[in-house]
């Protein structure tokens, strides 16, 4: 479904990503783990059209989407939920959700599925997005992306800024979505959370993919155990 090859990107001519390659197949949950500053956000921003890569290629469902603008990529069904969320703060929860379906007419069925998944959003439909807590905003960001019935959901650090319980609640919702057949790619520095969710993963360090494998393989790897899981 998604294939990234030889992908390099950075800021002001300084690459922070170096020839990164990975893929996500339909129906999979794939994680990209790495510490803060490893290049996860740069990777996703360049992949989703918010930043121009310096080399490499991104293919999505067989089409080359490298360097397409973010709005084009979003319309193709690759939805990016940024760690900064980028909600519309002075619009209501409802309006944020409806905009998720743009330019199509919002599907009432999808809306009720989203509100079922995140009952908090249903309670706060008339409230302005900017007045909600971090956890609620994260739910709304995911819900807004779901309104478009995405082919692939890409999440950057969904646990950022959330209390442990809320972070777990977010992943719980993602697990429900997985069961419904959604393909998910997630970048995470809280590795145990991502591991409990994903089928496969890649380890990004200093802009290079250092390791890859199934979640079980990565969890058993001594380097991962000491660096990310706190096991010695």
């Amino acid at each position: 479904m998604l294939e990234v090859a030889g992908f390099s990107a950075g800021y002001q001519g300084n690459d922070v990503l170096h020839a990164v390659a990975f893929r996500v197949d339909a129906g999979e949950a794939v994680m990209i783990i790495g510490s803060n500053g490893a290049g996860k956000t740069t990777l996703f921003r360049a992949m989703c059209g918010l930043l121009s890569p310096s080399a490499g290629q991104v293919r999505f469902e067989g089409n080359d989407i490298t360097r397409l603008p973010a709005e084009r990529i979003a319309r193709l069904g690759l939805r990016f939920v940024s760690a900064e969320r980028h909600l519309f703060p002075r619009m209501t929860v409802q309006e944020n959700l409806l905009l998720g379906a743009y330019p199509h007419r919002p599907d009432p069925q999808t809306l009720s599925t989203v509100l079922e998944l995140f009952p908090r959003l249903a309670e706060r439909r008339r409230q302005h997005a900017g007045t909600m807590s971090g956890g609620e905003q994260q739910m709304l960001a995911v819900g807004r992306a779901l309104m478009s019935k995405p082919r692939l959901l890409v999440l950057d650090e969904p646990s950022t800024g959330l209390a442990p319980l809320l972070a777990q609640a977010t992943y719980k919702a993602l697990r429900v979505l997985r069961k419904q057949g959604l393909t998910v790619l997630v970048a995470e520095q809280q590795v145990p959370l991502a591991m409990a969710f994903s089928d496969r993963g890649y380890v990004l360090e200093n802009g290079f993919i250092r390791l890859q494998g199934t979640t079980a393989e990565l969890a058993a790897h001594p380097g991962i155990r000491s660096a990310y899981l706190g096991v010695t």
Partner: protein
Amino acid sequence: MIANILDGIVLGLQFGLLAVGLTLVYGLGGVLNLAHGQMAVAAAMVVALAQAAGLPIWLAAGLGLLAGGLMGLILDLTILRPVYRLRGEARVLLSLLLTLGVSFTVEGFLNWRYALGALSLRIGGGAVEILGVPMRRGSLAASAITLATFAALFLFFRYTSLGRAVRSVIEDQEGARLVGIYPHRMLRLILVLSGVLAALVAITRAMVTPIDVHSGLSITTFALIVTVVGGLGNVAGALLAGLILGIVNAVAADLIGTYISLIILLGAAALTILTRPAGLLGVRE
């Protein structure tokens, strides 16, 4: 006094509508259009010429609105192109300079070809008494049209998906892109809308007082002041600020004099920036 306030409301509604175009274009695209008043005047001259050619008023007015929208589109397709390549402060500054150039060009052209051109739309019939004050039918018709336009704008921005998409770009451009909204298409749409609104204000203004080829600068000035007081990118703020400043202007002009009233308006704008930098209804980021 009541007469002044009513006059102020008539004027204020129009101020507000002028500011809507300016404020939305700025909020969406970081473009400050100093040719706004000249676009209004040029549209008024189209109406005047069409009328002189014998067209009925509704058709002439329609052509004027079309001309306004077309001028917005032309700005987007031509002079604003280099502006779109810039970001932040440089973008605002270049848009200021280039649209100032447009304003001189349009005004110079109109002054050369139609030096004595003016649009005045007389609406017949006697005065109508409101709160004991006789109001001209032209003023009432102008206010009714302006209010109806505001109502239509509120409905558009609140209840249509296109309207919500425009607002989303003002709120968070990156967020809008991530849901598949093309920010530049929204900006183009709003530039066209702002041209149509400028034309509409010129036409309704002509029902109250004649618009001549030199009215552009004062129209732009009023629109800018209302925009600043109302808050950038805020339609409700533009309406409220337009009404307040319209009343202040009418009362001050009557009590003190027209030139002083403009200074008072500028003072009000400066005071707003000092006390509420995001405008009357603005929310600080």
